[in-house]
Symmetry: C2
Subunit: 191 residues, 2 copies
């Protein structure tokens, strides 16, 4: 295992940084916590999941970061994203600049209309949550299903278990369905 430099900081070559971004009520932190647990506990990688608040973070949309590596994570802040999920236009506008040139961009096409790059995955997570699962609040979990498919960073079963562990009792079926819908719709698009 080798190392590379990002912004003059030495990091493992296998380091993978992802950001889930959207508006305050879209459950990005919940999704990132679940994703971090799934990858860290079941996939055996080191993971740091974090969110920032305050003047430094102000003005931007809501965001939650996950940094993954097989090696120790000395520097836990996301620097150049390997994957960005943008659930709103403001989120995309705020954070697209942080995505690597060859990074994976995933946008909720229900809410994001102006996408200034050609290479991205667009899925209407919010409509899928409403129409296929019956609850708009699980759009974040639909997105997690799609992330599993697009990136392979976490297996669908492992992800499902992690979501069900943290989801409120009585919502198991909806959450399971949400992951399935996200994964399936993503698999139709995957290059």
């Amino acid at each position: 295992m080798g190392y590379k430099f990002i912004d003059r900081i030495k990091v493992p070559e296998d380091r993978f940084e992802l950001r889930l971004s959207g508006s305050g009520g879209q459950g990005m932190i919940f999704a990132a916590v679940v994703l971090g647990e799934a990858i860290g506990l079941a996939e055996g990688k080191n993971v740091v999941q974090s969110q920032s608040y305050g003047p430094e973070a102000r003005g931007g949309a809501s965001k939650a970061d996950v940094v993954i590596s097989a090696n120790e994570i000395f520097y836990p802040k996301a620097m150049k994203l390997d994957m960005l999920l943008a659930m709103t236009q403001e989120a995309l506008d705020s954070y697209l600049k942080d995505l690597k040139e060859d990074g994976v961009l995933i946008v909720d096409t229900s809410l994001v209309t102006d996408i200034p790059v050609d290479n991205y995955y667009g899925l209407d997570f919010t409509h899928l949550a409403k129409n296929e699962v019956g609850h708009i609040m699980v759009a974040n979990v639909v997105a997690l299903g799609a992330i599993s498919c697009f990136t392979g960073i976490v297996g669908k079963e492992v992800l499902t278990n992690a979501v069900l562990k943290r989801a409120p009792r009585g919502t198991e079926d909806k959450n399971r369905k949400a992951i399935d819908v996200g994964f399936e719709e993503a698999s139709k698009l995957k290059k």
Copy 2:
């Protein structure tokens, strides 16, 4: 505002690091997310809230960190804790070594019996949650109320608003009561 060095890393002098630790089901991440939001959004400080998973974190208890500063937080990992909440014996045994010599130690005396230092605050959060609020699941929120009182790092009103924003609908009264109980009981002990 000046700077100091911790482990050869330059950090602002006003940097404050706290850790909430316990077992997996005690809601430490929820509590840390709420605390981070309260401090970052309402108190106008910069805050990074994070949790780690994987081999690097394995063996220890569940933990969630909050790093606070009026300045930009270049290095978001907790290094030397200014405050540690330990909700279980395993949590205390795992993380006491990370607390500064003059750091604030808060333990749940319902579950922690062997405390190898003299200078700490002990409250029976779990019993208080059960007996005073009527729901053992809000022990984490009782602890937040006590943290507000012991550290002054966040005001009680601001904290209450942050908890209510994230708590499931229908639990508002229990959560409000939990903060009140924690704050009041802490104020009886505060030196």
